[in-house]
Symmetry: C2
């Protein structure tokens, strides 16, 4: 008998893919189209390799430790914006994906894809911002790579960061650990990053107080996981709060109810959303998170968050229910309610 295992060279997609099917800009929006792409291609393709498609980081064994591993590519346009640039965005985003798993971020890698003709001075400024972001988060950038593509085959600079962190053995933090009754806490007002990018791109002079909220969330997230037993944490990036709640309700097979008026939104962001016709709940953030915390710890967790500069406006916005599984519902102050739905994806491309 031939004991050599045969390697399967193909896989079955759950839907037929036609020769005319192509990638749309919305496939990168973090909404429905992104989820379809993952469900139809990536999840079945990598089904044999333990890919975690339900959390933004994989938690895997490594020696006697639990290791968190994550990656993200950054294609934000414009590269520089009020409050940050693609460099600190890339470092903070990867730090946050580790922190959301309850991990202490340790190491970062950075792979640059540069377009021929890109300014060396701007590259230096981006690297300088990454250096600052690494220092601020206490992570070490330990390895990297650079490629160059011909003019017109890229867009200035793309950066892919990956991160490695360590999770305390007693921590169980992920969408699969959410329990009915958990309180949902948000760390601060939503929509600032997305509105900043959009107004830059459209050349609008909005209220100058709106800047990106890009920030490392480790200092908020680690106490939530370690002291207050958070069952799940999620940063509110592409697709915003709304996508996070819908994703989590589906993936955890739970119901979610929030009170709309409990969700903090800065006045200037709210005004800008009205101009653009956007729902602030669906707009991207780069320094905001939600946590699912056991009810007994919710008040103490909220108080701890509010003591940190990044969590001053933290609020309890809702809870996990038995009823209406796989559905997230928002109640408004007038007694009405709406079922939250993912944006289809093309609302705000290249936000990160």
């Amino acid at each position: 008998m031939n004991k050599k295992k045969k390697i399967r060279t193909s896989f079955t997609c759950p839907v037929d893919i036609l020769p005319t099917d192509t990638i749309q800009i919305g496939h990168g929006g973090g909404g429905k189209l992104t989820h379809e792409l993952i469900a139809n291609i990536f999840a079945p393709g990598f089904a044999n390799t333990r890919a975690d498609t339900k959390n933004d980081q994989a938690i895997v064994p490594f020696g006697n430790s639990k290791l968190a591993f994550t990656t993200d590519s950054y294609v934000v346009n414009p590269l520089f914006f009020p409050g940050g640039n693609i460099g600190d965005l890339a470092v903070n985003g990867t730090v946050n994906d580790l922190a959301m798993g309850g991990a202490r971020p340790f190491y970062i890698s950075a792979a640059f894809i540069l377009e021929e003709g890109f300014s060396m001075l701007r590259l230096r400024d981006i690297v300088a911002s990454m250096r600052v972001a690494c220092t601020a988060s206490g992570v070490a950038l330990v390895t990297g790579d650079t490629k160059v593509v011909n003019k017109g085959k890229g867009d200035g600079v793309f950066i892919a960061t990956a991160g490695v962190g360590m999770v305390d053995k007693k921590i169980r933090c992920g969408v699969q650990h959410i329990r009915v009754g958990d309180k949902i806490i948000i760390s601060g007002p939503v929509g600032n990053h997305g509105i900043t990018i959009l107004s830059q791109r459209e050349g609008l002079e909005l209220d100058s107080t709106i800047t990106s909220d890009t920030a490392p969330l480790t200092a908020l997230a680690l106490p939530l996981a370690q002291k207050f037993g958070a069952h799940c944490m999620r940063d509110l990036t592409r697709g915003g709060l709304m996508t996070a709640l819908v994703e989590i309700a589906e993936d955890a097979n739970i119901g979610i109810e929030i009170r709309e008026e409990a969700v903090p939104v800065d006045g200037a962001v709210e005004a800008a959303c009205e101009i653009f016709g956007l729902d602030p709940f669906a707009v991207a953030n780069e320094g905001k998170m939600i946590a699912f915390v056991p009810p007994a710890y919710a008040k103490a967790a909220l108080a701890a968050l509010r003591k940190h500069p990044l969590g001053k406006k933290a609020a309890i916005i809702g809870e996990v229910t038995h009823a209406h599984k796989k559905t997230a519902i928002a109640h408004n102050a007038l007694g009405g309610s709406r079922i939250l739905d993912m944006p289809s994806g093309e609302q705000l491309p290249r936000i990160c």
Copy 2:
């Protein structure tokens, strides 16, 4: 006294950077220009964060273990070529960067940057190849990300992979561990990947037997590190054998001497190099490596390599000397010799 550490927000480049300085295609070639970019921007920028700019992977502590961490972005053009495509290239390349550090590769991440309009079927084929490559190498793809850029702002698909592996505590494998007297062993003939890509791009119908050598080198590298005490291993990617030897001579502060005729080159590759006016020693490979092995183990290491299908044509090509530090010299069969030099970088862009 204010104990809060001030974070330095800028860094000093060793050369003045002018507003007119831009990225050239050669900055991505792996040769001199790439080294200048690293020396002038990335190394000083990340000097405070323990970046390892001398090896293709960082070896760092993690719990009680030694962890290897690496990243690479892939921008190869064309995306599909005889012997592989960007998908297996990306997995094998990251597996190899881990293996070259003497690490057993465990986990892989993949970040995709897709161009609007890219064929969904081709994406599926790329994912299928990555799946096969992961299975063949015994690595688990555990986390990923997808972004989409507008048509004309990318080039089909770019993939950034990162990898995590574990290094046995007793293994010391890196450029800093090379000793005078070490024998230099090559695993097989050079130039196949580069010539394959180049002939595809130029639309030339070369000898159809030339295909990319993309392959995982773990099965060759681990015994070299574990049984035969290899002091350093390096896969011969961008810039080929020549760049690897020049880099290592400089970084290890040693002299290197090789015998040109000892380096295996397939006849078809040699012929193609003559047509293109290329030195096969400077052409990229994606499944070839050199190892620096203590002289007492060299013969046994060579015999072990030759037993593996990927190492059948392995050869001892030279050794490490006290003389002419920081210089790599090639002796030819006629008694002549030449100092090896890095290609400047623009020879073969987007080879990986």
